[in-house]
């Protein structure tokens, strides 16, 4: 347990002293807070425009889901990859951390970033609700809100794992960022091709490509069946194809599997390669 607190302390110190960490957190907070601020203003001027919890969670979480996972992935790269180019990873090992412990510190950093971004999102929601007139329904968080929060956290975990994987693999923040964005671009194209294919199996497989899993986990319609029913009813009236999502539980398992795979490969790579 002592080593875990040491690793946490080291990673915290490294992160909070880094300007890019605070820039990313501030940018995320501003992006997530702006729609909330707008809604609070509306709530003050229009009695019908209520901003209250738990009803407003889908909006708040939906905004955070738009950029949160990508921010976690990018921030992981910015915080981890330079450890190799600055050779501080090597120095940490020379100073007494084993490669496995150094890696464990990075996994803790990933978990910390996910918690930090989730906490920022929740604080923005709570802050907005406190500043708004009117009250919401019973309870602070419904089970579906909690499910959405968990889904968003998993989406951040997948992107963060990808960031850690690329950092450990290419050991350069510029190259890692380039590969991440290239992958997102390529996967989007591949997913479109697979979805457009005639075979059902390919269409189903496309839904479980990593970026699609992350997108679905961050989509409020996947977590709120009643909203999905309303949207589909509207689409049916307009003769549009109905929207479908895989079960959230299945998406969660897929996300965990991707994350475990990426983290496992990163650990093997870390063990095998010299520093």
């Amino acid at each position: 347990m002592k080593i875990l607190s040491v690793l946490l302390r080291i990673e915290w110190l490294k992160a909070v002293k880094r300007r890019s960490f605070w820039v990313a957190v501030a940018a995320f907070a501003v992006f997530t807070a702006l729609p909330a601020v707008e809604r609070v203003r509306n709530a003050h001027s229009d009695p019908n425009a209520v901003f209250a919890l738990p009803e407003s969670w889908p909006d708040i979480l939906g905004t955070a889901a738009g950029i949160g996972p990508l921010f976690v992935g990018v921030l992981m790269i910015l915080l981890v990859a330079p450890e190799f180019s600055w050779r501080t990873a090597r120095q940490n090992v020379i100073d007494g951390l084993s490669k496995e412990r150094f890696y464990a510190g990075k996994v803790m950093l990933l978990a910390g970033l996910v918690l930090f971004f989730m906490a920022t999102t929740v604080l923005i929601g709570v802050g907005g609700a406190l500043l708004s007139p009117g009250a919401g329904g019973p309870g602070f968080v419904r089970s579906s809100d909690f499910g959405y929060m968990s889904g968003l956290a998993l989406a951040m975990l997948v992107f963060g794992s990808a960031g850690l994987f690329l950092s450990a693999l290419v050991r350069s923040s510029g190259s890692a960022l380039g590969i991440l964005f290239l992958y997102l671009f390529v996967e989007e194209g591949v997913a479109r091709l697979m979805s457009g294919a005639g075979r059902e199996a390919l269409r189903s497989a496309a839904e479980f490509l990593p970026f699609n899993v992350v997108e679905d986990l961050g989509d409020d319609l996947a977590h709120y069946p009643e909203v999905l029913a309303e949207v589909n009813a509207d689409r049916a009236e307009r003769s549009l194809a109905l929207l479908e999502f895989p079960d959230v539980e299945v998406l969660a398992v897929a996300a965990l599997a991707y994350s475990a795979f990426l983290l496992g490969i990163s650990l093997l790579n870390m063990r095998k390669r010299d520093l």
Binding site: V6, L13, T88, N92, V93, I94, D95
Partner: protein
């Protein structure tokens, strides 16, 4: 107990035979407690790779080594807690202050804040401790690296080119710190290009060339103190020719001062008798102590020659 012992330690980069590079080839040496051990070699000779294996950042291909008698993964992990080391350039977080960088190293090594202040004081960086690392001069970076190695009060200090890129004042400061550490009984393993510095600072040396140790031992032994002689005569050519034919001489070379010959026995009376018999009359005969630089150039000449061939 020896702080460092290596046994046929080998590192090969790459797996394909045609493209692989044998960086370190079955090296074996030992560093005893309290020694200031210089590890010398031309660029690319395998110094940093050897140190990387000792500090755990590079996996040996074969062979083994012991740190304070330990060789297994757990034993080495524990032994490394008794070691302070830097590899190549000082490696720190550029956006952090010197003190914060030491806080990271101190957390890893499990030492408290008072020790950070002590080490900053020892290397003369207390006044600049709050400044960011990327504003430091190279000398200050090297001194911070020394401070980091000393945080856990290690018994063995491994320094890879600690005076690299420093001006004479910086070199003098590093030498002074190493002297203080040696006086405190620390074992110091030091790789360097600065041969005069090594000769002045170290009690023992090993010279590595193309991944192999070509000579190692006490500095006095390595430079062959007592077995070489400097000779002069009116006819230098005749002197050189006679000494080359002398059965007791193992090497003969011309210098600006005269002829330097290494003798097996060191029997000077026999030399004078022999030369007199050859009709060569000496004007000067004295024991000769070559500098470490001369020895280094001598034993690494093959590497220098091959580099010259590649360059041409």
């Amino acid at each position: 107990m020896h702080p460092i012992q290596t046994f046929d330690l080998t590192k090969r980069y790459g797996t394909r035979a045609a493209k692989s590079v044998l960086a370190v080839d079955r090296i074996a040496f030992a560093v005893a407690e309290g020694q200031v051990f210089g590890f010398l070699g031309p660029n690319g000779s395998g110094k940093t790779t050897t140190i990387g294996m000792l500090v755990g950042t590079i996996k040996p291909t074969s062979g083994r080594f012991r740190l304070f008698g330990a060789s297994g993964p757990k034993g080495l992990m524990a032994a490394r807690a008794r070691v302070g080391a830097t590899l190549e350039t000082p490696n720190f977080y550029p956006y952090m202050s010197g003190r914060d960088n030491l806080r990271v190293a101190a957390a890893v090594k499990g030492v408290g804040r008072p020790r950070i202040d002590e080490c900053l004081e020892l290397v003369g960086l207390s006044d600049r401790a709050k400044h960011r690392f990327n504003t430091y001069s190279l000398g200050m970076k090297q001194r911070l690296a020394l401070a980091a190695t000393m945080l856990n009060d290690p018994e063995l200090i491994i320094l890879d080119e600690p005076a690299n890129g420093l001006d004479p004042q910086g070199i003098r400061e590093i030498r002074e710190i190493i002297r203080i550490l040696a006086e405190r009984g620390k074992t110091i393993f030091l790789s360097s290009h600065l041969l005069a510095e090594v000769e002045r600072t170290c009690s023992h040396v090993a010279i590595i060339r193309k991944g192999r140790i070509v000579t190692w031992g006490a500095v006095a032994e390595v430079v062959g103190e007592g077995s070489a002689v400097l000779l002069r005569a009116p006819d230098t050519e005749a002197l050189a020719g006679a000494m080359e034919a002398y059965p007791d001489s193992t090497s003969v070379r011309r210098t600006d001062d005269g002829i330097v010959a290494t003798l097996d026995s060191g029997d000077l009376a026999s030399v004078t008798r022999y030369l007199s018999g050859q009709g060569v009359h000496l004007s000067h005969l004295a024991p000769y102590r070559p500098s470490l630089e001369e020895v280094f150039i001598d034993v690494t000449q093959g590497a220098v020659d091959s580099m010259t061939e590649i360059a041409s």
